[in-house]
Symmetry: C2
Subunit: 128 residues, 2 copies
DNA sequence: ATAAGGGTTCCAGTCACAGGAAGGTCAAGG
DNA sequence: CCTTGACCTTCCTGTGACTGGAACCCTTAT
């Protein structure tokens, strides 16, 4: 399979797939014409990567997960540890965003939003 | 005031303040020795920027807010529009993260996390 | 022969800074 | 006067995970 075909199959942009090869996440073979040749295992890997990235795992975490995935003697505890770490990161991000949203929503609510210049949002940004 | 002093006062790293000058958010004067000289108005601006950034506004949104802040004939509706747009972005981000968390939490819960290789997390990443 | 539609490499840009090198300036102490 | 140390300056590079584009090669159909 050429890169376009695999891109369509996995839903990943061809650029991204080339990038993944660049950083060593996949290692497709090459045809006589220099084109990348993807096999089933490459397709599986890329699908795996696409899903892991969609769940917000970093590239390095994906690399780790991929290694565990390919290691048949892995301990599921190792996978779980990576996932739990990421889960914690996500929760922290959500908390931070929620705090921003609450503060901002409060300011927005106080603001009349008309053609007058008086604005509690700007005042809130000025100082405490 | 020198950059160190203003950095401490505003809580922004000196590097960040230099960067803000670079992109035209602040324009401190210069002393005879070439040092940046910050005045009260610069301090106010930087405090404003720090707060706006802490609420997650992008640099470009900050630039916009700063312009509105300095425009005494602004309409509060314009400020509110920027804030509402950002609020929407935040909500979208939170939703995306919450979806990730839910999916991931489900997988984590299914995983025994022991020394056996069988792992529902990896299986979930493989395919649907 | 040529045109369209693949593919290839490489370079630059994104966002909002952070790290660090190389060097100038200032105030205090010996 | 000289040194020390803390501060300041500019400039260059790197971050994460790609994306866009240029310049060029390969394949297939007309």
């Amino acid at each position: 399979m050429n890169i376009g075909e695999i891109a369509e199959q996995t839903g990943l942009p061809a650029k991204t797939i080339r990038y993944y090869e660049d950083i060593g996440l996949v290692t497709p073979q090459r045809g006589a014409n220099g084109y990348r040749v993807f096999r089933e295992t490459d397709a599986h890997k890329l699908t795996f990567l696409g899903r892991a990235r969609a769940l917000g795992f970093s590239i390095e975490q994906c690399r780790e997960l991929l290694a565990l995935w390919e290691d048949r003697s892995r301990a599921s505890a190792d996978v779980r540890a990576v996932a739990l770490g990421h889960l914690d990161d996500i929760d922290k991000k959500i908390s931070a965003l929620a705090a921003m949203r609450d503060t901002l929503a409060e300011l927005v609510q106080k603001c009349a939003g008309d053609d007058r210049p008086d604005c509690p949002i700007l005042k809130g940004l000025e100082g405490p």
